[in-house]
């Protein structure tokens, strides 16, 4: 009997050990404007409309991350660990760390740009960490039309005319809207980014942190299917034109390759849910 118990405990431990064969992934976001690295405030860029602009503020949500296997199946990162707010002003937030990823080969990644509709509609206890509207998510929420701002970029452009109440040539792009509740529809600007790792398969090794480089080209907000002029539309918020901007930035993410591996515990963590 004692032996049997011993065996049972041994087996359980074994199962636990094999279940732990996981590694971690860090998604490292490099924000850029075209081929140039993004520098807040200092640098001037030019958009496809030929307008000069600089960027003073950039934040966006990345959530509901899935890793795609060779056979097309997906590993879905548990939802509560799958919300990140990337904030250009805080470099450590550009590393989104995903733990407990089963070891194996992965060929691509998919994620929501913004916050999915279910979480957008969830009750307040489901909104912690970067989703806390009284905390880290404070700049990313519309109180009057309940919902998160998915992508928020602000800056200035000398081409923006000073008319009406506009005292400074600033642009404000606050893009959100998750589709609304039940039959009360709003625009749905939720976009999903799908990136392939190309020929390079990403191997997740036990207890190793694999760092995946992702470039975020924010010039795509202006230069995409719709060529946007800052002079014409310096402010885009919860209006119809926001759909064009969301279509534009849907492909602003690209895979740039593997970075140096690090020990699993050795990476600064982006603003997650905890």
């Amino acid at each position: 009997m004692k032996n049997f118990l011993f065996l049972a405990v041994f087996t359980l431990l074994n199962i636990a050990a094999s279940a732990q064969k996981t590694g971690s992934i860090t998604l490292h976001f490099d924000n850029a404007v075209g081929n140039e690295a993004l520098v807040l405030k200092g640098k001037q860029y030019t958009n496809a409309s030929g307008e000069q602009f600089n960027v003073t503020f950039l934040q966006y949500y990345v959530s509901n991350i899935r890793l795609v296997r060779k056979d097309g199946s997906e590993y879905v990162v548990p939802q509560d660990q799958s919300y990140f707010l990337i904030r250009e002003q805080l470099p450590e937030t550009r590393n989104a760390v995903l733990n407990n990823i089963p070891k194996g080969d992965y060929t691509g990644i998919r994620f929501v740009i913004g916050v999915d509709s279910l979480r957008s509609a969830s009750e307040i206890s489901q909104r912690k960490g970067c989703l806390d509207v009284g905390g880290d998510g404070k700049d990313m929420y519309w109180a009057w039309n309940s919902g998160y701002i998915f992508v928020k970029m602000e800056g200035t452009s000398p081409q923006i005319p000073l008319t009406g109440n506009r005292k400074e040539p600033i642009f404000l792009y606050h893009i959100g809207l998750f589709g609304g509740m039940g039959d009360k529809k709003t625009l749905n600007n939720i976009k999903v980014a799908t990136l392939s790792f190309g020929k390079e398969k990403v191997k997740i090794k036990t207890d190793k942190n694999t760092v995946i480089g992702i470039k975020t080209d924010v010039s795509k907000l202006f230069n995409g299917p719709t060529t946007v002029s800052l002079a014409t539309t310096p402010t885009v918020m919860a209006g119809p034109f926001s759909a064009k901007i969301a279509d534009n930035y849907a492909d602003m993410f690209s895979y740039t390759g593997l970075k140096k591996e690090a020990a699993a515990s050795d990476t600064k963590i982006a603003l997650g849910m905890k």
Partner: protein, 514 residues
């Protein structure tokens, strides 16, 4: 036989009661004639301490940027929790909002909130007025910081939630808990519907069937709203408010607004999203003959190509008679929802909804004048200490100030003056205490702005100053939260928030002649 059952039932009741004796009376009960609530009470179980905390928050002006506006400022109980006499509600610095403040009752049955329904959960609602620049103009993180920093709140949060942690969820849920208790279901109509012995006059009975026939497609059910959005044909003149369109961006939703309940109408005038009608007669006149055609006009208001609802003068009278049956006097006076609780302050209750800016509180009483004159003297001592950055001097003067105000002989005040004093002193005493308890000049400065503000408020209302007073504001004070101070001349230089490092910040925003 009946008595026997009665006995059994009461025995059973007693049996159950003896088991539940530690439970408080129900904080939220679904009235017998109401449907099941929409709010998921299981996600935010009401507790006495949670509701009590929500109430304190609801009536605390700390929720606004300059600590002048509370939820209760625009949602006054006697006005059915609307802002009495205001077509458009107004927030800090008397800025007008674009809409009439909506009544607050039976919120547990509302699927969304606001005239345009932009907020889809009661817990999320408070953030909107809190952060609206024309309402409370604060930010949620700031409010949470103020609460964490206060002496009052951490213990209240601990009572309500087990620990003194103050976070977004707890803050919003406690506000909801209080608002959920605001159930209005004791109008004569309700008592009639529940067979509680209420009877209808003939006029009321006819009014009721007229409302059923002519109004109930929108004002439906026992809550008298279908909670949907309709364009009721208000004249578009000067109306740039597109209502529901702001949310859905659908052309078909232009000029549509939430159907409000018909309960407590006598208290909630003026009517419509912009408060354009002052009386129920005007509202009915609108439906009878003022409805304007537009592409999104509700089809029900355009039956047979004839805009409006046919109503004779006699029918209007009967409808109004019935609508008055929907007033719930008990709710409007229920001290569970009042700023001043009758149980604790029976004298204060009558002034619960006084607009203090509109009443004359001038006093000539020598005892009061003398006390406030002394108080001002100690205030100058505090200010001098802050200028010199002498924390001990500040603390000493604050102790003297506290002593004089705490012991002011309140029997010398009229009941209305007393209620005002009580209200102001609640905040004023709090800040003076903080200033007196520490010698840290930076902490003293954090409380000095509000101290100045409320002392000025008191003196301004009672008009006891012997010299002119100048009221200054510096937006950079107290880590950019802003702060006020007083002087007796307009030339006086210096800023008590910065002392030796005066940043030349501040301007006179008010002048009070002697």
């Amino acid at each position: 036989m009946k008595t026997k059952i009665g006995l059994v039932v009461s025995a059973l009741g007693f049996f159950l009661l003896s088991f539940c004796s530690t439970e408080d009376p129900k904080l939220f009960e679904k009235p017998g004639n109401f449907p099941a609530p929409v709010y998921k009470l299981g996600e935010n179980p009401l507790t006495p301490a949670g509701v009590a905390l929500g109430k304190v928050l609801f009536y605390d002006a700390l929720l606004s940027k300059d600590n002048t506006v509370s939820c209760g400022s625009c949602h006054q109980q006697s006005a059915g929790f609307t802002q009495h006499g205001h077509a458009l509600s107004h927030g800090i610095n008397d800025l007008l909002t674009k809409r009439n403040s909506m009544p607050l009752f039976n919120l547990a049955w509302s699927p969304d909130f606001g005239w345009d329904g932009g907020v889809h959960h009661l817990d999320l609602f408070a953030i909107s007025p809190l952060q609206n620049p024309a309402e409370m103009a604060e930010t949620l993180p700031n409010v949470l910081e103020k609460l964490r920093y206060s002496k009052t709140y951490p213990p209240l949060f601990e009572k309500a939630f087990g620990t003194d942690e103050i976070n977004t969820e707890r803050f919003l849920k406690s506000l909801s808990q209080f608002m959920l208790t605001m159930v209005s279901a004791n109008s004569r109509y309700d008592k009639f519907m529940r067979n509680e012995g209420e009877t209808l006059t003939e006029t009321e009975r006819e009014g009721m069937s007229l409302v059923e026939k002519k109004c109930s497609s929108c004002h439906s059910g026992v809550l008298f709203s279908d909670f949907k959005f309709h364009n009721n044909g208000l004249k578009a003149a000067s109306n740039t408010d597109v209502g529901r369109y702001d949310i859905t961006l659908l052309d078909e939703d232009r000029y549509k607004f939430k159907v409000p309940s018909l309960r407590n109408l006598t208290a909630t005038a003026p009517y419509m999203h912009d408060g354009r009608f002052g009386t129920l007669e005007e509202v009915l006149d609108h439906y009878a003959s003022g409805v304007e055609k537009s592409p999104t006009l509700d089809p029900l208001l355009n039956a047979n190509g004839q805009p409006g609802i046919s109503l004779t003068t006699d029918e209007k009278t009967k409808i109004i008679a019935f609508l008055k049956m929907l007033n719930d006097e008990a709710f409007l006076k229920d001290d569970r929802f009042s700023e001043f609780e009758m149980r604790e302050n029976p004298e204060m209750a009558q002034f619960a909804n006084t607009d203090w800016d509109k009443v004359d509180l001038t006093t000539q009483n020598p005892i009061v004048k003398n006390a406030l004159s002394k108080a001002l003297g100690y205030y100058w001592g505090i200010k001098k200490g802050l200028m010199a950055e002498n924390g001990a001097e500040v603390s000493g003067s604050a102790k003297l100030l506290l002593n004089i105000l705490e012991n002011l002989d309140r029997t010398q005040l009229t009941p209305m003056q007393k209620a005002f004093y009580h209200k102001v002193y609640q905040d004023l005493g709090f800040d003076i205490e903080h200033v007196s308890e520490t010698q840290s000049v930076s902490h003293q400065r954090d409380h000095f702005g509000d101290l100045s503000k409320n002392l000025f408020r008191l003196i301004k209302a009672f008009k006891t100053n012997e010299k002119a007073l100048y009221y200054h504001f510096c937006p950079k004070a107290a880590s950019n939260l802003g702060g006020y101070w007083l002087t007796e001349t307009s030339e006086e230089k210096g800023n008590p928030f910065f002392g030796k490092n005066d940043k030349k910040c501040g301007e006179i925003i008010h002048y009070m002649p002697k």
